[in-house]
Symmetry: C2
Subunit: 318 residues, 2 copies
């Protein structure tokens, strides 16, 4: 098992460090937060200065996990020695890939995104099982280093997550639709409801409560997440504007909403079907020249890696 | 206690009949559904032909509860004898008020809307406690008959609901925002997510699940509800389009979403505050010339009637 060095010991980084340690790996970390460093050391973890932590990663051929917020990624990347294995857990993948190509083209980077989190933050909020049953996206581009990709798959499986392989572009487009747009629509719905005054809020029940739940999230976190995925999110918002505008036009002209409501019902059914479908297992040889293509095809079909034996990934698809 | 005659013995009407009976009232009903009639009779209820049920209501000065779908309301209203006390439980109030003025101007009608329901329908799905802790809207217009309004309040309280007084126009505008728009946005979000293909749906988690939950409702019920409130719903959709368009513009031009996200967070907080606020109790004399104005003011502040002693309503507001 490869050693793991985690840079950034907040909720996600702290949970990765704990999960890797729980799986029996040698682990150490670094963080710019004195509070997180102190708390992690108090819990018995090895926390070092960044340069020291990265030098040790180079010496031991460890996997470095960059778990700092997007604005801090560039500064960390600049300090990673060439040739070191690196992944990250930032919630957008295109901007991180761009940064790697620009400031650290010689590190062996594979993007990642464990799709778990809570509204809490900091080392104290983390836990070893944060990623249990979560999707952990791994980017598989044309030129991805399969050896490092295999490292990331192994780490994700150690954390009890399943792995969804895709490209950075596809990832960012998908999360814009299913993670970032929901926050914007929840904010819009909450505001339109509040515009109706206390009477409207007093009559609000299940549908309004469900539709606005994520508007209770911390605004600065929501903004950072959405604004960091600007390009892909614009596409998703335009799709929503087009569909909402069509509903408006149909309601105004014919009084009917059949197309909107029925399409929404079919789409929700598709989500249900995907989650409850019979599964087909397959294997992917991660040393094969076709491996990256097979991985991307797996992700595109809604499939995932659920196990690893040597260099053979056990995958499941509906 | 006034006798109650319920016309339409589906989920809502059947539950009103049971709740009124459970409160010790004399009750009887009528329904165009042979299946519902048979089931209600098998449960020991008095189900009659419509003309017979309405004649008995006139003779005993009972309260008639019209609990048929909106398209069937006109036909029922035409058969109600002049002077009879009538309420209804249709989910839009403006169109029902218009119908009463047009086809039954001499019945003593006060609109109502018990805000409870499930995805099930028919007599068998009903139950006496369906309205427990639910809001039951009662319309208090300039010319509302306070005597009949008091009857409806008494029935709603018997059913363990609390009463929210407002006008038909205000009711329809409020439910457009907090009940009908959520269904349209859920449909739009589900469709945009499904547009992202299996990958997007495979990555969908909490925010997408919450935001699309009501898209699983039966499309024909959602359509009937939304399309029946066309005028008010257009206003709510336009508000949402304006806010979503502003978010789009801001994201495209400056990359920022502060205004959208922060307004949504404040609005969701307002919902929480209203639901958890300290309450102030007050009383409203339902025989006073200012009663209708006081009732409307109560509803506008997010308040509700929680009890009735003689003609004095006990109200609660935040």
């Amino acid at each position: 098992m490869r050693d793991v060095c985690v840079v950034g010991l907040g909720l996600i980084g702290g949970s990765v460090l704990r999960a890797a340690a729980a799986a029996g790996r040698a682990v150490w970390g670094a963080t710019a937060s004195g509070q997180d460093a102190e708390a992690a050391r108090a819990d018995g973890f090895d926390v070092r200065a960044l340069a020291d932590a990265l030098a040790r990663a180079r010496d031991r051929d460890a996997l470095v996990v960059v778990a700092v917020p997007l604005p801090a990624v560039e500064e960390v990347l600049r300090q990673v020695p060439d040739g070191v294995r690196v992944t990250d857990v930032v919630s957008v993948k295109g901007p991180v890939g761009d940064l790697v190509r620009r400031v650290a083209p010689l590190v062996r980077h594979v993007g990642g995104h464990p799709m778990a989190g809570t509204s809490a933050s900091g080392w104290a909020a983390g836990r070893a099982d944060l990623f249990r049953n979560a999707a952990w996206v791994v980017t598989a581009e044309e030129d991805t280093d399969l050896d490092v990709l295999t490292d990331v798959v192994e780490l994700a499986l150690d954390a009890k997550a399943h792995v969804v392989p895709t490209t950075a572009v596809e990832h960012d487009a998908a999360v814009a639709r299913i993670s970032h747009l929901p926050h914007i629509l929840a904010a819009v719905l909450a505001s339109v409801g509040a515009d109706g005054g206390p009477l409207a809020l007093a009559l609000a029940a299940g549908s309004f409560g469900d539709g606005t739940r994520v508007a209770a999230s911390r605004p600065e976190l929501v903004r950072a997440m959405c604004e960091g995925n600007r390009t892909a999110l614009l596409g998703a918002v335009d799709d929503a504007l087009g569909r909402l505008g069509a509903a408006r036009g149909s309601l105004a002209s014919t009084g009917g909403l059949a197309k909107t409501i029925e399409a929404g019902h079919r789409a929700r059914q598709a989500l249900h079907d995907l989650q409850s479908a019979e599964r087909t297992d397959l294997t992917i040889d991660l040393t094969s020249p076709q491996a990256l293509e097979a991985l991307r095809a797996l992700g595109a079909r809604g499939g995932r890696i659920i196990g690893l034996t040597g260099n053979t990934a056990l995958a499941r698809t509906s």
